[in-house]
């Protein structure tokens, strides 16, 4: 994994979104899911997309993944079209559900993308071993998904997303279905993993503290039509080493300030005079 750090000298953006619109044709008429989205994500940058339901954050991620096509504007991934980037396997993806294949063992699930792309069995084995070690599931390689807890399944899914050492990791509320304890543990692990691999991450979430804890920048979106309301830089780790982000961070004053900043952005710029600081608004 380490040799694939994308701190390559060429400064091509990991993702470049220029004036992207997305309109869904439905029976009841057109739905403007995204409207004039501009966003540039640098290599190795951790970006969170946050906003209320229907703000198009998942749609934006699906456009980057080439699971949907934009109606207008241009979208490039590492300087290529989204389609080419998908064909070249430039990104790894994890969804809200783990989406593991139930008839495959943990190891075989992680190996699936490698298998599909003709990686030799010896290399496959060593790569899977390394990945499972990274997500702390080495002892569970021969288990089946139904024998794992939800958090463990999600870790397998993350290992699978990292299998091809992608320079870009797309995550659509990957911890949304987990309980708070597991969730915080997974966040810490994700910070460590993303630092280890140096991949850029696009992270869709509902949770403000989650976005603040993980990200270099938080992209706050508003619904109908989906627009970028504000991009809030996180001073927590943008300059500092990402690996330095630890559990203590959650207790620091700067963390709460950032949470407040994002919350204010979500509420349209007006200061929020709601409850005590640090109370989660999800």
């Amino acid at each position: 994994m380490t040799e694939a750090t994308p701190t390559t000298p060429d400064s091509t953006a990991a993702v470049e979104v220029r004036g992207v619109d997305k309109v869904f044709e439905t029976r009841t008429g057109q739905v403007h899911a995204l409207d004039a989205i501009d966003l540039v994500i640098a290599p190795g940058e951790f970006i969170s997309l946050i906003g209320p339901s229907g703000c198009g954050k998942s749609t934006l991620m699906r456009l980057i993944a080439d699971l949907d096509e934009p109606t207008g504007g241009t979208l490039t991934v590492f300087g290529k079209t989204a389609r080419q980037a998908r064909l070249d396997q430039d990104y790894g993806i994890a969804f809200q559900q783990a989406g593991l294949l139930p008839w495959r063992t943990v190891a075989a699930n992680v190996a699936l993308p490698l298998e599909l792309h003709g990686v030799g069995s010896a290399e496959r084995r060593s790569r899977v071993e390394h990945l499972l070690d990274m997500v702390g599931l080495s002892d569970f390689a021969d288990r089946y998904p139904d024998q794992l807890s939800g958090g463990m399944q999600q870790r397998v899914a993350i290992a699978r997303a990292l299998a091809e050492q992608p320079r870009l990791l797309l995550m659509d509320e990957p911890f949304g279905a987990l309980d708070e304890m597991t969730r915080e543990k997974m966040q810490t692990e994700l910070v460590r993993i993303s630092a280890e691999t140096g991949a850029a991450v696009v992270f869709v979430t509902h949770s403000i503290p989650e976005a603040v804890f993980l990200s270099d920048r938080v992209v706050v979106m508003s619904p109908r039509p989906g627009r970028i309301q504000q991009v809030v830089p996180m001073r927590l780790g943008a300059e500092a080493e990402r690996a330095a982000r630890t559990e203590e961070l959650r207790e620091e004053r700067a963390f709460f300030d950032m949470v407040t900043a994002v919350r204010e952005a979500l509420h349209g710029g007006s200061p929020v005079s709601s409850g005590p600081r640090g109370v989660e608004t999800r």
Binding site: F95, W103, L112, Q147, G150, G151
Partner: protein, 325 residues
Amino acid sequence: MTDLRERETADAVPGGVPGGIRSAGRAGRVGRSRRAGRTAAAWAWGLVGILALALLWEGYKFLAPADGVVIAGTRVLPRSTDLAMPHVWDMIARLAEPVTRSPSAQPLWLVVLLAALTTLGIAAAGWLVGVVVGIGLALVMQRWRIAEWGLLPWIVLSQTVPLIAFAPVVKSWGSRVEIGAFEWQDWMSVALIASYLAFFPIAVGALKGLQSPDRIHTELMQTYAAGYWQTLVKLRFPAAVPYLLPALRLGAANAVIGAVVAEVSTGLQGGIGRILIQFAGQASGDPAKAWGPIFGAIVLGLVAAGSVALLGAILKNYRRSEESA
């Protein structure tokens, strides 16, 4: 049964504690012995069922009037004479006796067994053809939605044609087929008719199975830039297994029924359908004899369905679900 066991195992693995493995192993062992107990119970209940049936038979025979119950000229309950309802023990004893009075005659059970094996072979051939055709149709229907719209109604309609009606037609068509050294055999007509019954549940089940993968899985394959064939082999076929197994079992049972009925209506020698008719004709003189092939046909159906269950045991990992604790 397996579901329960897996659920237990999952419960025993909370959030990645190393001790989870050991406790999971223990749960597995408990599950295995419990499963063995359930298998024994299943056999015991099966036996109880057979005994209850025999008791009912003998009980009715003992209590009912010899001429049955006739109300307003219609017989609502059957005659209970030895001719209409031989004793259970007579039927079993008859199996051990020779078929005919000739000194070289084989015992009845052997004749029934050989005939059943012949029919099983024909039904197996028909089942295989049914599997190939059924899965082939399902693949076409899964690939092209328009094919599903166009084909599915015809597939359903095909099963409404009475088997007896077209069995002789198939035989007469078959007898005209002669390609080079290949000559159409009569048993092939029977196998073809068996396949006609077998393919239907397989086609429907396989289609449902191939369409069963969740959107998250198909999209995952899409993000891997996997093509149609890769998606088929790695995702759709494995996902179809839980749907295919019952369909294959139903297909096997249908193939046996189709083979027996086709043997009767095409007059094929050697199979169980033939002796079923033949011995029924002799029932007035030897009522217990006619029951031999009937038992044979029942066992035949069980063996056919059971062989598919064996396939299910081999493929048991494909029947897992994604659910967890």
